[in-house]
Amino acid sequence: MGSLPLSIGLRSLLTAQAGLETIGHNVANASTPGYSRQELMVSTAPGFRLRGLVMGRGVQADVVRRTVDTLLHARLARQDSVLGRLDARLNGLELAELAVGSTGDSGLPARLSALFASLSTLSAAPSDALLRAGAVQSAEDLATALNQAAKGLKDLRGDTLADLRSAVDAANTLAREIGDLNQRIPELEAGGNVANDLRDRRDQAVRELSELVEVRVVEEPSGALRVLVGGHMLVSPSKTSQLVVENDPSSGVTLLRMGAQGPLLSGEGGRVGGLTGLLDRYLPELAAELDGYAHGLALELNRVHTTGLAGSGPFTFLSATNPVGDVHESGRPGDELLSAAGLPFDIKSGTLYVNLTELATGTVSKQRIAIDAARTTVDDLVAALDALPGLGARLGAQGRVELLSEPGYGFDFSARLDADPDGLGSFGGAQASLATGPGPFALVPGDTLDLSGPAGSISVTFTPLAFQQMGQASAEEIAAVLNADPGVQAAGLVAGTVGGRLVLQTQGAGKAQSFTVSGGSALAALGWSAGTMVTGQDSAVDVQVSGVYTGAANGRWTFTPSGDGVVGLTPGLAVEVRDSGGALVATLDVGAGYTPGDELELPDGVRVSFGSGELSAAHGDVFDLDVVADADETDVLVALGLGVLFTGSDAAGLALREDLERDPSGLALGLGPGAGDALNALRLLELDGRPLEGLGGATLADAYGLISSGVGLEIDAARSTREAEEMLLASLQARRDELSGVNIDEELVRMIEQEQAYAAASQYLRVVSDLQNELLNIL
């Protein structure tokens, strides 16, 4: 009983000391991240019974309690995760913007403008070697700009992957720390202690982990935490796993696993989620957009360049820059369909026009090769090219198509008009000539054609073997049969075709040359009459075509006289021009009043002149003119890389064709053989500002602008989202600080109040003591 007051006093002092320590602890940790303000909870110490009386035992300190809102903490952790992802994404986007940035002289738009500016200058003086070198340099700069953008994105992917590995390492370190605290906290608390600071540290570690990777946290009754990532356990009360990053260098796909052999994770949140999103989606998509742009740019510029004529003139040798692939691994790449031969550009069905030039005379013959994307193989194309007069073609050892002209010949693929379209001489030619109407022709097996030529007579019998469908025989098939018959040649005759018409001619020219169609059962099918005799003339009608075809589509115009007569003399003599559908394009008056040799205007920039001579509608005088807007409808030249401006088909691989750097005369700026012709340069210039099919209908500048502005828009969106989420985090953090944070001023005020209260109490007690002493004095 005697020690009770002492015990009470001691307990009181100890309680006060605990309160003091708590306040001191709060103040000391005011700036510790994640620290939660602590409060000493006190209560009346339980009394005890003595001689029937319940005696009080004063005050006792129960527990130092953390002021924590667990729901708020969980929400803060989720918000950390959201901001971690947004931060990583925003940072990556800003770096991507630098890589594909469109500003400055080294930016792609500036390089594109520089190329077109140099082409514009060059178009005024296409043979100027210095200007050509400048244009070549501009083209190379453009390719380099795309190369640099691609390299920037590739480097960024590498850096992002390194960041991801670093973030995952940091996450693993935090997971281990949480695992360690998971051991210590239950141990302490099981012994009746409180583990406030360890819990604060663990909560802080969870928040730091949330910033790195989206987690879900569950607290066990023991006080240990389970931390789950993507539904899989990263930290359990007894075990801590590790996150593992795997990156497939070939596919570029990044995988996040729980443990080396563990399940794949698809975490979207946190810095790891943001970096993974950049690596697996945004950056590859941006690189693909850039590659798509480079592909479209190469396609469009090369389409024009391959169908132009170099300043050095027609090619005598050309090797493809893109090899065909042996896709089916048959050992013979020539077997592959052109459209499935692993070429970097698509092949379409259409016509490829090849100009073959006799170098000595400048005579050009325009040849056509039909390509069916679904049927034509590499070998088919090579064979078709090889079959052209004056041109040899082969598939080289490296899988590259090689073209070599025969001596004295050159070749090109320009869209120029055939200046001398009546090569056969079937339109007022010097040879005796008789033409049918357009085929096909309904021959029957055993049909005959009897001819009497200048050197003898012959009867030709047609058999089904020579035709695909004899009832639908083509002019080419009939001409082949006739030319294959030695008797026809022996009779001094030769057969040809013009626009689906069969043309039979004498081998020789002049008035002395004539032949007669004597008879035969095939006459009805051919539309000829027995006894028709045709005679040559001393002077053929000279047909000359000039100008540049400006029409939008390829076509073939057929020229036929309206009657029989002499050019410039016969009243009413005209030449009708029809397109391949039979529609009348123009009627040219070449009768009386027309001065032979004068140019007559046709639509779409084409001009034609006719020399003196006789024309005969009765004998089927005819010639064709190919009007070519696109000399390669199939894109086979671009796909194979024959005569291109740029090699490569993606942003990283785009390069100026190697030989152009050494010899800028290889720039195909013209359409005709003249050195001063800059017509193809003008076609190249037209690409600037024109919606292009290869770029999805956008212009060259707009298509790139869409890519760079797309990055800018992504950045704006990410920034505004981040700002909104940051505000939310600040609000949550303020609420947390309000609840759990330490306010030093508040703690000081509390201490001063406490100190002053004790001082006041001492003061009162002294006065009371004085009065009490006075009372005791009088007792």
Binding site: P5, I8, G9, R11, S12, L13, T15, A16, G19, L20, E21, G24, H25, V27, A28, N29, A30, S31, T32, Y35, Q38, L40, V42, V59, L188, N193, V194, A195, N196, D197, L198, D200, R201, I744, E747, L748, R750, M751, I752, E753, Q754, E755, Q756, A757, Y758, A759, A760, A761, S762, Y764, L765, R766, V768, S769, L771, L775, L776, N777, I778, L779
Partner: protein
């Protein structure tokens, strides 16, 4: 009734009043002791104001008591400063028996109050000294910027 007897009855009434006051002060001191232990400054202040009211009342009682003793000293023609309750009881003989009993009760009550006062005074001074030291330390740390530069995590429970 003589004047002395009347004054004696009045002194007895004062002692009874003082006994009641001592019990109240003792209660106030007990409450203050609880407030001291609770480290609750608001409770401590409230208890202080209650004791302050008792101090005022005590001063008035002391003045009345001094005046009555002065009257008795005049009756007995002695120096008032020499009179104590004990000497008054001795001088009154049988007439002072009740006052003698009341005096004994008051001595016990005053002794209890004095013990409580000493206990509370020691506790209040110890608390005041301790808080003062902590306050001095914290203010010094704040002035040096130690707190703002980041605290050191201390495992208080470890």
């Amino acid at each position: 009734m003589s004047d002395v007897s009347a004054i004696l009855r009045q002194i007895e009434a004062c002692v009874v009043e003082e006994l009641g006051a001592q019990r109240r002060v003792l209660e106030r001191l007990a409450a203050q002791e609880a407030a001291l232990r609770s480290t609750d400054p608001a409770a401590l202040g409230a208890r202080g104001r209650e004791i302050e009211a008792e101090v005022d009342a005590s001063l008035q009682r002391s003045q009345r008591r001094t005046a009555l003793v002065g009257l008795l000293a005049a009756q007995w023609q002695v120096d008032a400063r020499t009179l104590r309750l004990a000497s008054i009881v001795e001088r009154c003989g049988r007439e002072g028996e009740r006052l003698a009993r009341l005096r004994g009760e008051l001595r016990q009550a005053a002794a209890a109050t004095a013990r409580a006062l000493r206990r509370n005074t020691r506790a209040a001074r110890a608390h005041q000294r301790a808080w003062g030291e902590v306050l001095e330390g914290v203010l010094s740390a704040v002035a040096q910027g130690d707190v703002q530069s980041g605290g050191r995590l201390v495992d208080a429970e470890a």
